[in-house]
């Protein structure tokens, strides 16, 4: 069993896309349940959808919930309250950025890491640079190229 993931987003398509991307990284070893949009199909979050996703991702190892925006946190907490009424599964809600957090958590979960380690990996993803930069190189490399970059476009 591995830690399960719940992807909470205001957009159903965003949640599904993130789940798809993270799923490729997990190679089928992790249950990743998207919970995006409202039950009417609009933009927003749904306690019901999150609750269903929690039930789907529930495992003895626990579940990590990732959010697209902070305002999804309240819905996630409400869903978690309901979930706890009939599940004993440990759940943590992450403040990590959605894409990096989900991808990193998926890999960490795929190698059988415990919930705490998966949550810590996702949190650490907050400071991952988007561009590969070795110390001191970025500034040196990008600064002189600014002009040429403009010319090319």
């Amino acid at each position: 069993m591995t830690v399960g993931l719940v992807i909470v987003s205001h957009s159903a398509r965003l949640a599904e896309g993130v789940a798809e991307l993270a799923g490729q990284m997990a190679q089928g070893r992790v249950v990743i349940a998207p919970a995006g949009g409202t039950t009417e199909g609009g933009l927003g979050t749904s306690v019901d959808k999150i609750l269903q996703a929690l039930r789907l991702a529930a495992s003895s190892e626990g579940v990590l919930v990732l959010l697209d925006l902070g305002s999804a946190g309240m819905a996630a907490e409400m869903a978690l309250e309901l979930f706890k009424q009939d599940h004993d599964c440990p759940v943590m809600i992450s403040s990590a950025p959605l894409v990096e957090g989900a991808v990193v958590a998926a890999v960490e979960a795929s190698i059988g890491s415990p919930l705490q380690a998966v949550a810590e990996a996702a949190a650490a993803a907050t400071t991952l640079p988007k561009l590969p930069a070795t110390e001191g190189q970025t500034a040196e490399e990008t600064a002189p190229e600014d002009g040429t970059t403009e010319d090319r476009t």
Binding site: M25, V103, V107, G112, A121, A124, P129, P132, E135
Partner: protein, 110 residues
Amino acid sequence: MPVVERNLVITNKVGLHARPARLLVQTAALFHSQIVLQYGAQTVNAKSIVGVLRLGARCGSTIHLRAEGEDAEEAVRSIEELVQRNFDEEEEGDRPQGESTTGISSETPA
């Protein structure tokens, strides 16, 4: 405990980005040995995806692999083979011009 060390040159186009890093971590995790990667001033646990991504090792860079444990020899061999196989990446040169060369392409099979 046996210690095995090796210098590895990263030769796949995108370097240690998401997908290659994921493969490296998932391979390292198969072994009991303690496995670390050194690149520049950084030393990270090869079983930590955040650590490996943080290295930011690009194509052409040399990373130092060190494994300590009963299965160190096997662990180093597996990781070395993975790196030498360019993480089973498709040859980007075969693609039509203008294709994305990012780590995760829409054409990459799941």
